[in-house]
């Protein structure tokens, strides 16, 4: 392998650009307002770097959540340029010179870009996101074929960032709705050949706040930073309810 592309990257790092970043700021009990910051950044900076620089050099009160900075923890999903994204997985080069940042819709705002994820995790717990199997565990593993493992692979990638749920008009209209992320994590177990809780979960998801509030809008699949085809999984669950059981390969 050659390293011919390395100098280009270095040049891009050296060329900083002037950004105008508009942040929708809010605090409990106060109306939200837009605040504008001017800041230098490299096109190869991630948006979270830009926010950090603003916080560290201009305005220490700017509040946002971030932890891993590597797209794994899911704590920095926010609405960047009008669409839910992880600030640590989005490059300035892909956002332009004028960038807007808002808290995700569908969640109560705690402060600035930080939203309250408690209701979100409540919905997650509601679908029983753990293995349910009452048959005594065998001496070795509970075996599964490659095809059976593949059947629920997509859902295993979820990092619970909440971007999908916050992008869903059905969630905005009805905060009680369980939302895409919880269904993705239900799918993870419903379609696992080792799990015996499918009927129970399908029951939970077939009520008024269950899968049927999905109007196949696809915002969830468009925003998922883990590229999970979220709507496909929801449709899988809908069909499992219609046909009475999930279609899992026998072998």
């Amino acid at each position: 392998m050659t390293t011919t592309s390395a100098p280009k990257v270095q040049n891009a790092r050296a060329n900083t650009v002037q950004l105008t970043v508009r942040v929708k700021r809010g605090a409990p009990g106060a109306a939200s307002h837009w605040q504008e910051y001017k800041i230098e950044a490299s096109p190869l900076d991630r948006f979270v770097d830009v926010l950090n620089n603003i916080k560290w050099t201009q305005d220490g009160t700017l509040t946002f959540r971030r932890s891993c900075l590597h797209g794994v923890c899911g704590s920095d999903s926010m609405r960047i340029n009008g669409r839910n994204q992880l600030a640590c997985k989005t490059l300035v080069a892909d956002l332009g010179y004028k960038i807007s940042a808002e808290p995700m819709l569908g969640y109560p705002v705690i402060r600035d870009l930080v939203v309250d994820m408690d209701p979100f995790f409540g919905k997650y717990e509601k679908v029983k996101p753990f293995l349910i199997n009452n048959t005594p565990a065998p001496a070795t593993e509970r075996l599964q074929s490659a095809d059976q493992r593949k059947r629920f692979d997509a859902g295993t990638k979820c990092i619970l960032c909440g971007a999908c749920t916050g992008s869903c008009p059905s969630v905005w209209a009805n905060p009680e709705w369980v939302g895409p992320a919880a269904i993705v994590n239900a799918h993870r177990f419903i379609f696992d050949s080792r799990d015996e809780g499918a009927a129970e979960r399908l029951q939970i998801l077939s009520d008024r706040t269950g899968v049927w509030r999905c109007r196949t809008i696809f915002n969830c699949a468009d925003v998922c930073p883990r590229e999970i085809p979220v709507t496909d999984l929801i449709e899988d669950v809908k069909r499992a309810i219609i046909y009475g059981e999930p279609d899992i390969p026998n072998t």
Binding site: T216, N219, D222, T231, D232
Partner: protein, 124 residues
């Protein structure tokens, strides 16, 4: 304003056209009711549909019905064909193309009398 993509616009358009078709249905119930008052009243009521303004509304109705039907098929395919959701973007484009094809051909006949200068019922 959330920046959604083709799926969100399809859904929004589906809603708007759905409401439009429902409103027309109410108008349609009223005009069909006129039948009970005899042929003269019914014909007088229906001649409203021949005026250019109402022809224009008819165009909107045609577009709404076409879009709502084709997009309804798109949703059915997504719901029942396991691979359907992967092609939703393609289907969204097809929905628009089919709607346009139907709209242009039907719109031609709706507007023809207006351009021929005799938008009354008798010209049709």
């Amino acid at each position: 304003m959330y920046r959604g993509q083709s799926g969100m616009w399809s859904w929004l358009l589906h809603r708007v056209t759905g409401v439009a078709v429902l409103l027309f249905l109410l108008v349609h119930i009223v005009d069909i009711t006129m039948l009970g008052f005899g042929p003269t009243i019914y014909n007088n009521a229906l001649s409203v549909f021949a005026t250019p303004l109402v022809r224009f509304f008819s165009l909107a109705l045609i577009a709404s019905v076409l879009y709502h039907s084709f997009n309804g098929l798109r949703i059915l395919i997504i719901d029942f064909w396991p691979a359907g959701a992967q092609y939703q973007r393609l289907f969204a484009v097809l929905t628009i193309l089919l709607t346009l094809a139907g709209f242009i051909s039907m719109g031609y006949f709706v507007l023809l009398p207006v351009f021929q200068g005799c938008p009354g019922v008798t010209c049709g």
